[in-house]
Every structure is written in structure tokens, then in C-alpha cells.
């Protein structure tokens, strides 16, 4: 295999790596938004639940969650025997806890006076959150979300261990096939850099620019 052929072989795994990262990011985004709003505006009981979720999933390693779902829950619920599905869920659950924290600090920066102004117009609490607080919190969260996507792209490599055929798995196949320890790992490392670095940098810049522009 020429180096070009090897590279192409590695790149063929990129769509799987990216789709796992993107789907788990979206799951985490939904969870993060819901739990952050609950932690700030929810009832006492719901706050406890959201707080517990955040604490647990920020403390347990992704791999442990993956094993727990795949080997543990998989015995009872066959759907968790699917490595791709289980990877997305595990990464999403952990990411949701991180994103909840990102949103909590973003909502904090939006400021109380915005909520008060929304209330004074007669908007219900839900509409105030939906039309006034959330749009601003989303903009403020963009740089943090950029780092979160980068983290997910890297952490998606854990799914190789439970059997997903993604970039790390292709790297491993290549290592075995070429008996080269150096090229496959350096090449896949560079692919990870190319996937994460420009995106995170761009989102960070965009977020800061928008923040300045709107005076958030």
C-alpha cells in the first residue's frame, strides 16, 4: 500500500467518526439546554434531578458509561448491543452534562434585566426563555460548544473499543496490515487535528465577534 492509499483508507472512516460526534453533540445539546434551564428556572425537585445528572456524568469517564451501557444494559435491552447506537448515547449523555454547564454560565451572562424586561411585556416564563434568554445564551455558548464538539470528535475514538468501525479502528487495521507503528498513528493524529482545530477556532472567533457586535 502506498502512503496515499493508506491515507485514503483512513479517510474512509471519517464519516463514521463525524456522524457519531455530530449525533452525540446534538443529543448533548438538547440535554444541556433542558437541564441548564431546569437548574436555573426549575422547581426544587427538578433542580435536584438536573444537579444529580450533571454531577454524575461529569465525573464518570466516557468509556465507563459506554461499557456500562454496552455490557451491562445490553444484556437486558438488545438495542444497547448495537455499538454505534450505544456510542452515540454514551457520548451524548456525558456531553449533555458538559453542555449544561456551558449553558448555565451563558444564561448567567445574559443577565436578570433581560428576563425582567420580558416579564414586563407580559410574556410567560416559557416564552421569555424561548424568545429572549435562549437566543442570547446560544450565541454566548458558541465558543464553549466549539470546544465541546472538538472533545466529542476525539472521544468518539472510544467507540472503537466496543466495535464501531471508525477512524481509530481503521488506524488499527492499517497498523496490522502494514506492520508500521509510525505512519498510521501519525496520519490519523493529523486527521483528528484537521477535524477539530479549524472548527473549534472558527466557532471561538465567530462567538467572540458576535458577542462584541451585540454587546452581550
Amino acid at each position: 500500500m502506498t502512503p496515499i492509499e493508506q491515507l485514503i483508507f483512513l479517510l474512509k472512516a471519517v464519516p463514521v467518526t463525524l456522524s457519531i460526534s455530530l449525533l452525540s453533540f446534538l443529543l448533548g445539546l438538547g440535554l444541556g439546554i433542558i437541564f441548564s434551564f431546569i437548574r436555573i428556572y426549575g422547581t426544587v425537585f427538578l433542580k435536584y434531578i438536573a444537579d444529580g445528572y450533571e454531577k454524575v456524568f461529569r465525573s464518570v469517564p466516557v468509556l465507563a458509561v459506554m461499557f456500562l451501557l454496552y455490557f451491562g444494559l445490553g444484556g437486558y435491552l438488545p438495542i444497547f448491543k448495537d455499538p454505534y447506537f450505544t456510542s452515540v448515547i454514551s457520548l451524548g449523555l456525558v456531553s449533555g452534562a458538559n453542555q449544561s454547564q456551558i449553558f448555565r454560565s451563558a444564561i448567567g451572562s445574559v443577565g436578570r434585566s433581560q428576563m425582567l424586561a420580558a416579564t414586563s411585556l407580559g410574556l410567560t416564563q416559557f416564552k421569555s426563555l424561548r424568545y429572549v434568554i435562549l437566543p442570547q445564551a446560544l450565541i454566548l455558548a458558541v465558543p464553549g460548544l466549539g470546544s465541546e464538539i472538538a472533545l466529542l470528535i476525539k472521544d468518539s475514538s472510544y467507540s472503537f473499543i466496543i466495535g464501531v468501525i471508525e477512524l481509530m479502528k481503521h488506524t488499527d487495521i492499517l497498523r496490522a496490515a502494514t506492520r508500521s507503528l509510525v505512519f498510521p498513528y501519525i496520519a490519523s493524529a493529523l486527521i483528528y487535528v484537521a477535524l477539530t482545530f479549524p472548527l473549534a477556532t472558527y466557532l471561538d472567533k465567530w462567538g467572540s465577534m458576535k458577542k462584541r457586535e451585540l454587546g452581550l
Binding site: S113, Q114, A117, S120, L121, G122, Q136
Partner: protein, 243 residues
Amino acid sequence: MNVLECRDLTKIYGKVVAVKNVSLGIGKGQTKVIFGPSGSGKSTLLRCLGLLEKPTSGTIYFNGIDVYTTKQDLNKLRAKIGFVFQEPSLFRHLTALGNVVLGLKHVLGYSEDEARRKAMEALKLVKMEDWANYYPAQLSGGQQQRVGIARAIAMDPEIILFDEPTAALDVELKWEVISVMKDLADRGTTMLVATHELRFAKEVADEMIFMDQGEIIEIGTPEQFFRSPMTERARKFMAKLLG
């Protein structure tokens, strides 16, 4: 009957009594001015009247109906009570037009087109129609306050409460906001205004209310306050304001 009225309103935060046994009412078409040293409870009183804070005790009547004991839908009433804040409170992710449209659409249920038309009318009234597509960060403090006033009047409220709308503004910018408020008063808008702009009070107020340490100390016409306040505290404070 008064549009908005409170009886024996008291608001306590922890151990601090911010407002103590205040009773006052604003009739249709009236303009009343509240003034007094900072920390005298003006803001708290206005926020209670705007149904943004619940009083610790006392009663608030909107068009004669006891708001809290009859369990009214507070959001519906808030839509009828305009509120203009001291600090910049425009929604920063929306343009001037978007700020005015939001309540029309999502509280009063206007369609997008109707809401925009009505919002533009309100912006015209405060002479901000040329700035409709600018974001708050691109506007001066005075312009932001005028948009804030447009946002309140667009909802066709029965009364507008102003919480020191010019206090955070430079002197040059104050007057453009004051003149918009004067227009509103001249058009018969029912208004309760916390302000230290005595010229405004003199020209448009039906009544002035002097507050200190959470209590109403003196109520009178602007003439009375400018000629000779009855209480020593009001006299001293007037002297300070008039320099």
C-alpha cells in the same frame, strides 16, 4: 376610578423595609411624578405596581380589581402596564424593530405583518423609525431608551410606569428622552414617572409625590413643591435638586 392603585403597600427584603405602607392611585390620563433620594423605595414601589415584584403586604388594584387576592392572570395584566427601566433593557439579540415586535407577536398575538406595522408606528412616535434595523449596541443610550418607550407604548397599555429612565444618561441625551415623555403626557397617556427631572415634573405632572426611606413624605402639585414644600425633608431635597 383609578387605573392603578395600591393601598398600604409594604415590601420587605430580608430585614430591609424597602417600601412602607404606601398608598397611591393614578387616574386615567393623569401624569404623576415620584421623586426622592436614591434608596427611597421608588424603584421597588414601581416594580410592585408593575407586578414584577410581589408586595410583602398591601393591596394592588388594577381598574378597581384586587390583583392578588382575586388571582388574576398576571401576564395578561403586565401586558396592560407598560414599564420603562432605568438600565438598558432592550433585548440585545434583536433590532429596534424586533424589540417592539416581540410583545405584539407573542403576547398580543399579532401576525408578523400587523406587528411590524404597529411597531413602526410606535417607533415613529419616539422618532426612531430610521433606526428600526439597528441593534441596541449600535444605538446611543438615549436612543435605546426611546426604543424602550416604543416597546412599551406599542402594546397600547393603560398606564406606563417609568423607573428613572434618564438617570443613566448623559445630560445631552436626557432631553431627547424627556421630550418623548412630554409628548406622551400631552397626548393623555396615563403615566407614573420616577424622575429627578424637575423641569419635566413642572411642565406635565398633575401631582408630585416625594418619597424618603420607603415612605411617602409629601404629596402636592408641582406649584406647591416649587413654591414651598410643607415638610422639611422635601424642602431640603428640592433645594439640592435645584442646586
